[in-house]
């Protein structure tokens, strides 16, 4: 699961002996199950479609330090220099302590919005800071867009697969989500058109089309320029809004950047979502949106009701960080790091996954999407993988209609290259066991040779010793696996 779609890991507070309860007054008896049923009678109808899942419970195990988690959506925050953090916070304290500790305007602080304009300019998407709403993470934009546009039963068009973290948001507004298949060039816009026609014939007009055009989460694919143009045209022809979710646009490792939908559309039908989570820190919880003025106004009102404002502390932190103009350097560091990790994962997949498997080759972002033969269910496979201390996100999380059962999302940004290699090797091993078993059961014996020419097994690599004999693992791995 990504950071956004799972709760914070439950850890004992530090500063006390784990397991030793501090003296505290006994908690009053919790309501018994029948009382809980009584609460259930008070629940809003929307909670009926808000469900937790088996997968989420399985994910609890990925928090254990011995598990190599390729399931996260974590940027590697260990690369941010601690001295910079200390200096920036000290400066904030010296120059603006009172403001940093105060409420901020709902739309966001002016100086933060200037930084946002700077980031958007780096994606060739000029924006007037006045037209920006600062939000609490990009996730809040998805929520506010739904809050503004969605009545129960309204249609949202999304990609198939879609961002797993958007699914609970869509569900909580009781939206009817229609998912459009993707290929290597992103969302199949021809299929989108057919779907829009069909919905039109049924008298249902979708409220918005949700897309992650760059290095999509979870599929890793990028929407081609031709399709970007056609998608924007479609929105204009049919007067539909597009929610362009662009958290990874600046994390491109190869190829030429493509224009954002917002820049192609000049902000007429595109609601743009940006975030500092992947270029600076998800811990500061800052994202933003820019949208057609009437939509932005409603989103601003919605935000007042949700949280009044995003933290002034975080906003001033960003402003003071950007003042030093180092953000582009840091971004370069991240790109180099993630490019190496992506290459490592692609190489490991070629070496360890069987010939029946396929996977995407992302030009940027954080994720690779792998698809196995249809008789393998990746939710069950996760159980087997966890017994080998490795985790991924089962594909079902990215669909609302039960599809995706044979796919998985693999993250390469949050773990070291050594751990990526070993993690993929372990997953490959359980996949191959299942392929062989299925062959035995059906009398067919599918070739389970590695997809690519076998390069020497890394088991002999002394650098792997600490991963092969878990625990202990390097402190940094543990930190980035803490999910």
């Amino acid at each position: 699961m990504t950071v956004e779609d799972s709760g914070p890991p439950s850890r004992p507070p530090s500063g006390r002996v784990p397991g030793q309860r501090p003296p505290a007054p006994p908690r009053p008896a919790r309501p018994a199950s029948r009382d809980l049923e009584r609460y259930a009678a008070l629940f809003a109808s929307r909670t009926k479609v808000m469900k937790s899942s088996a997968m989420r419970d399985l994910m609890a195990i990925t928090e254990r330090p011995e598990v190599i988690s390729l399931a996260g959506g974590l940027p590697d925050t260990s690369t941010f220099p601690a001295e910079s953090l200390a200096a920036l916070t000290a400066k904030m304290a010296a120059t603006g302590a009172a403001r940093a500790l105060q409420y901020a305007p709902t739309e966001g602080m002016a100086q933060t919005k200037e930084c946002i304009a700077e980031v958007m300019a780096a994606e060739d998407t000029p924006v007037d800071p006045e037209d920006v709403l600062v939000t609490t993470g990009g996730q809040q934009v998805i929520d506010l867009v739904c809050k503004t546009l969605i009545d129960p039963g309204d249609v949202i068009v999304a990609e198939a697969p879609t961002y797993p973290g958007a699914v609970p948001t869509f569900m909580s507004y009781q939206a009817d989500v229609v998912q459009i298949a993707m290929d290597d060039d992103g969302m199949r816009v021809d299929e989108l058109e057919q779907t829009l026609d069909r919905l039109d014939a049924e008298g249902r007009r979708p409220k918005f089309i949700y897309t992650i055009p760059n290095f999509q989460n979870p599929a890793g694919v990028t929407l081609s320029l031709a399709r970007r143009r056609r998608l924007v045209e479609l929105a204009h022809e049919r007067e539909l809004l597009i929610l362009e979710d662009n958290p990874y646009g600046l994390l491109r490792y190869e190829g030429e950047p493509l224009p954002t939908l917002h820049s192609l559309d000049h902000g007429e039908f595109v609601i743009y979502l940006g975030t500092f989570s992947k270029i600076l820190s998800p811990g500061i919880r800052l994202g933003w949106t820019t949208a057609p003025a009437p939509v932005l106004e409603k989103m601003n009102l919605g935000k007042q009701g949700a949280d009044l404002c995003s933290p002034a502390f975080s906003q001033m932190f960003v402003a003071s960080y950007f003042e030093h103009d180092r953000w582009a350097d840091y971004l370069r560091t991240l790109r180099d790091l993630y490019r190496r990790r992506r290459d490592t994962m692609l190489e490991a997949l070629g070496e360890h996954f069987p010939g029946e498997a396929s996977w995407t080759r992302p030009q940027g972002g954080l994720f690779i999407w792998a698809t196995l033969p249809d008789y393998i269910d990746t939710t069950d496979l996760l159980a087997a993988a966890l017994s080998h201390n490795v985790a991924f996100v089962p594909g079902r999380a990215a669909y609302l209609d039960g599809r995706g059962a044979s796919s998985m999302r693999l993250n390469f940004s949050g773990v070291s290259e050594t751990a990526i290699r070993e993690g993929v090797r372990r997953i490959g091993e359980v996949v191959r066991e299942q392929v062989d078993l299925y062959g035995t059961l059906t009398g067919s014996a599918p070739a389970s040779e590695p997809a690519a020419d076998a390069t020497p097994r890394p088991a002999a690599d002394p650098g792997l010793a600490d991963v092969l004999h878990l625990p202990p693992r390097p402190a940094r791995d543990r930190q980035s696996d803490a999910r």
């Binding site: 439950s10 784990p18 397991g19 030793q20 309860r21 505290a24 006994p26 908690r27 009053p28 008896a29 919790r30 309501p31 018994a32 199950s33 029948r34 809980l36 049923e37 609460y39 259930a40 629940f43 909670t47 009926k48 469900k51 937790s52 899942s53 088996a54 989420r56 419970d57 399985l58 609890a60 195990i61 254990r64 011995e66 008789y375 393998i376 269910d377 069950d380 496979l381 159980a383 087997a384 966890l386 359980v430 299942q434 062989d436 078993l437 299925y438 035995t440 059961l441 059906t442 009398g443 625990p471």
Partner: protein, 311 residues
């Protein structure tokens, strides 16, 4: 008042549920005035048990390690009294195949089944026998891992073509699986506390799909009726059967016996026994105890007392 080590979590697939059971138990023990030592079970379990020297261990773990006799064996070695069943009963309950064989041998009703290890398919050509099994059990057939709780990995095969993928899924959780005759009917849970059967809970799924893992732990997705609406004779039969199974498998303290009331025959069939059933807010044993007038704190107190009594 005692010092009670609450063992929870661990690396089993039911870790999350166990953490919830453990938290519930810890709160209750604190209310009862006990000194609580909470242990998320891991590599340092033995060291931590030695260091904290509890009077008794409350095993609030589900699934592998906690419910299959492993942790119980360690507690035996350390000489720490612990709640619920002993090593051998845990082993018999955790392995559905062992439990079902014991029931069948003793003449207690359990749905027909066949069980295989992965080796049987890989090395002994068991796949060639699938056709015969399918004929005998008739579709739909339930395919289950032998030792996985909470309905994880349980699949319905509606036709022969579904069987291989269902087996692959079940083998994801265990090296041994069983193919079982599907019993269509009402799902009943009989909790046993200290050699006494509690009121029966019926689980009524609210959604058409299979009574799945998340439904068991999500408020509002499954309706639980307690006491189940059954006539007195049937209630007595189900409770008697549950007690017979509890004793047959050598359980101690508490356990939960899951049964089916088959629609076509009106017969009861035992599916499995949970040596350490859930103790969360929505769990069935606390509900059953409550229906018998035993609130959660009293339930926990009795469980601890039983563990401290010499056998």
């Amino acid at each position: 008042m005692s010092r009670v080590a609450v063992l929870k979590g661990g690396g089993s697939l039911e870790r999350q549920v166990s953490l919830r059971s453990g938290a519930q138990v810890e709160d209750s023990l604190a209310r009862l005035g006990h000194e609580v030592v909470a242990i998320d079970v891991g590599h340092d379990l033995v060291a931590r048990l030695r260091a904290s020297a509890p009077d008794v261990a409350f095993v609030a773990m589900h699934g592998r390690d906690g419910e299959d006799g492993t942790v119980q064996e360690l507690l035996e070695i350390l000489g720490i009294p612990y709640t619920a069943s002993g090593v051998s009963a845990c082993m018999r309950c955790a392995d559905k195949v062992l439990a079902k064989h014991a029931m069948r041998d003793a003449g207690l009703p359990t749905p027909d089944f066949y069980s295989f290890t992965e080796t049987a398919f890989k090395e002994l050509g068991a796949a060639d026998a699938l056709g015969t099994i399918e004929e005998r059990l008739e579709f739909p057939i339930v395919v289950k891992p032998a030792d996985q709780g909470s309905a994880l990995g349980v699949r319905f095969a509606r036709a022969a073509a579904d069987v291989p993928a269902a087996l692959v899924a079940a083998f994801s959780y265990s090296h041994k699986v069983l193919l079982e005759r599907h019993v269509h009917g009402r799902e009943l849970a009989v909790s046993v506390l200290s050699d006494e059967a509690l009121p029966i809970v019926e689980a009524v799924p609210r959604e058409e799909d299979f009574y799945d893992f998340s439904a068991r732990y999500t408020i509002g997705r499954t309706a639980f009726v307690c006491p189940a609406e059954l006539d007195d004779a049937l209630t007595e039969r189900a409770q008697g059967l549950a007690l017979d199974v509890f004793r047959l498998l050598g359980c101690r303290g508490f356990a939960r016996v899951d049964l089916m009331l088959e629609q076509s025959t009106g017969e009861l069939e035992v599916l499995e026994v949970n040596a350490i059933p859930g103790l969360t807010e929505t769990s069935l044993l606390p509900q059953a105890a409550e229906a018998a007038g035993i609130d959660f704190d009293l339930l926990i107190e009795r469980i601890v007392e039983m563990a401290l009594q010499p056998a």
